[in-house]
């Protein structure tokens, strides 16, 4: 897809205009994304420039062990949103929930795109990949998720793991993980992977990252493969209820005085301190609110293994396991060994008693020169 072959209608700028998207709306999108990613103001313009010059990027979207929540998040709005504009920038060549085609035709479209855009398409994955028993626990058109991922990833330019399942294994991987679910990054090792975790991820985070990839390439990632721009801070660091935490004012239930006053939700289990995401700044539903604002603690859904990190309603400073049985067992074992050791001690003592010979006056004489 070299520049000279691209005519005006094929560029994004052209296609937007033909789709009735005003330049104003387009610029607004760019500045929204740029500000959400904390890019400098000039970047919005650069992004708009680049986007309007770019051709539509081929994208293959694979859904594996997932709940379609991620797709819902990015598409489902009551009215068209800025975020949905992203679908105008990309050529979504395969997405079995969204595409009209089905059956052989659908799979054919995927194979076509793979061939046509070899080495240039972006692969988006939502859902974890079951690998146990050869991956038989989830198949599409008779192909296991594992096979399909390996096949499609081979010629992808980059991979975006959308949602916690694709990024970290998520719910399918949660204990006891019956299907042997793993994350994309556990299978694909030789391609750049961007993780956009969340259950689901924030729409603007997904579109923002995609826009960034389309314009400036792969953004700066943290140690978990997450774009720093959205996942650099913890929820706690950015939470508007943080001052209450610092002052030690906590809601102790969901219906008490503290809850009504909007105090910190740490004691009712908020995982904000260890959760990295943009909820507290970008918020949800066009910036309307986010869980903590609506009175529920953060459950830490954008962190690896969040489902196995103990109850959502137990404070972060408590253990994640119920240890009553363990402790009782330890007490019993300690008592048993203690009694055994005590018996040995009594035995040692009575042996010493038996061996004891009284100290008598003769002993005094012996040493008494």
């Amino acid at each position: 897809m070299t520049e000279e072959r691209v005519d005006k209608a094929e560029t994004l700028g052209g296609s937007l205009i033909s789709n009735g998207v005003s330049r104003r709306t387009f610029l607004k999108f760019c500045s929204t994304v740029a500000s959400a990613m904390a890019l400098p103001p000039a970047a919005a313009k650069a992004m708009a420039e680049k986007l309007s010059q770019a051709t539509r990027q081929s994208v293959i979207w694979l859904s594996f062990q997932e709940c379609t929540g991620c797709t819902e998040s990015i598409t489902r709005s009551h009215k068209p949103t800025l975020e949905s504009l992203i679908f105008d920038f990309i050529s979504l060549d395969y997405h079995h929930t969204l595409q009209a085609a089905s059956g052989d035709a659908a799979e054919h479209a995927r194979e076509e795109a793979q061939k046509k855009h070899k080495g240039k398409y972006i692969l988006i994955v939502d859902g974890a990949i079951p690998v146990k028993d050869g991956g038989v626990y989830s198949t599409i058109a008779g192909i296991t998720n594992l096979q399909m991922l390996q096949d499609v990833a081979k010629d992808a330019m980059a991979i975006v793991s959308v949602g916690t399942c694709a990024a970290y294994g998520g719910l399918p991987k949660a204990n006891p993980n019956p299907t042997g679910a793993v994350a994309v990054s556990d299978i694909v090792k030789d391609k750049p992977i961007i993780n956009i975790p969340g259950c689901p991820p924030i729409p603007v985070v997904m579109t923002g990252v995609l826009a960034h990839v389309l314009t400036f390439g792969i953004p700066e990632l943290d140690s978990h493969g997450r774009p720093m721009a959205f996942f650099g801070d913890s929820i706690h660091d950015r939470c508007y209820r943080r001052p209450f935490y610092d002052k030690g004012q906590f809601a102790k239930g969901f219906d008490d005085e503290g809850a009504r006053k909007g105090w910190c939700l740490f004691e009712v289990g908020c995982k904000g301190p260890t959760t990295h995401n943009a909820c507290a700044t970008v918020k949800w539903n066009n910036g309307t609110s986010f869980p903590i604002q609506s009175g529920h603690g953060c459950i830490g859904c954008s962190e690896p293994d969040f489902w196995d990190a103990g109850s959502f309603y137990k404070p972060l400073s408590t253990g994640s396991m119920n240890m009553e049985g363990w402790a009782t067992g330890a007490l019993a074992a300690g008592a048993a060994v203690g009694v055994a050791s005590g018996l040995l001690n009594s035995n040692t003592k009575s042996k010493a008693e038996a061996k004891h010979e009284p100290v008598t006056l003769e002993d005094m004489g012996a040493k008494n020169e």
């Binding site: 030690g248 404070p315 994640s320 300690g334 203690g338 050791s341």
Partner: protein, 215 residues
């Protein structure tokens, strides 16, 4: 293992193993002591000594007046440690979760104050271990290890709370892990005094109480 897995391990299995070891070890230690028995008292006692034994457990919380100059730093450190362990709000949540009893924690600035106080006095106490002749002659290598094991949770806790260090999740994991190390070391080192002090005081107080002396 990344920091999230580390934290999850620390809050889950790590805490469970440490608790099991600590409960097991402490039970064993206490029973070991009790198994040695106490000689029968044939003398006509002035009191049974039971009340005085319990009284000494409380009374020894205040040092004898001459000892302040040797004990002030250690004393402050123990008070600080006590406050930090039992009154930092997240910690009260842990105790509520484990024991089902709840008391109000103290504001963070007070906890901060006591943390810094404890860290500072602990460093002073370490120096004293080298400088004070009696303390020095009694010191064994394990004493320095025990000091470190006690010091780490304070420092990591402080760092985690103030977001010092590479990453909060990692610091929190380090903090919890250091506490777990402390828990494991509790029954196998002289840290066991955190529990057996009550027995020692009781025996001393009750032996003296039988003779009509308050110690």
């Amino acid at each position: 293992m990344n920091e999230v897995e580390l934290l999850n391990w620390a809050r889950g299995p790590g805490l469970a193993y440490a608790t099991v070891f600590m409960v097991f070890g402490l039970t064993l230690r206490v029973l070991e002591i009790l198994s040695l028995g106490r000689p029968k008292e044939y003398a006509k006692v002035r009191s049974s000594g039971v009340k005085e034994g319990f009284r000494t457990i409380i009374r020894r919380n205040l040092p004898e007046k001459h000892c302040w100059k040797y004990i002030t730093a250690t004393y402050i450190f123990h008070v600080g440690l006590f406050v930090v362990i039992f009154f930092f709000i997240p910690h009260t949540q842990l105790f509520k979760d484990v024991f089902g009893v709840f008391w109000d924690g103290w504001p963070n600035y007070i906890i901060d104050f006591f943390t810094i106080l404890s860290i500072a006095t602990m460093m002073y106490v370490l120096i004293q271990r080298r400088v004070n002749p009696a303390r020095r002659i009694l010191s064994r290598p394990s004493d320095y290890f025990v000091w470190l094991v006690t010091f780490l949770p304070l420092v990591t806790g402080y760092m985690a709370f103030h977001r010092i260090g590479p990453d909060y999740t990692l610091m929190l994991a380090m903090h919890i892990l250091s506490v777990e190390l402390l828990m494991v070391m509790l029954p196998v080192t002289k840290l066991v005094h955190a529990v057996t002090f009550a027995m020692a005081r009781y025996y001393n107080g009750s032996n003296a109480g039988r003779k009509g002396v308050k110690v």
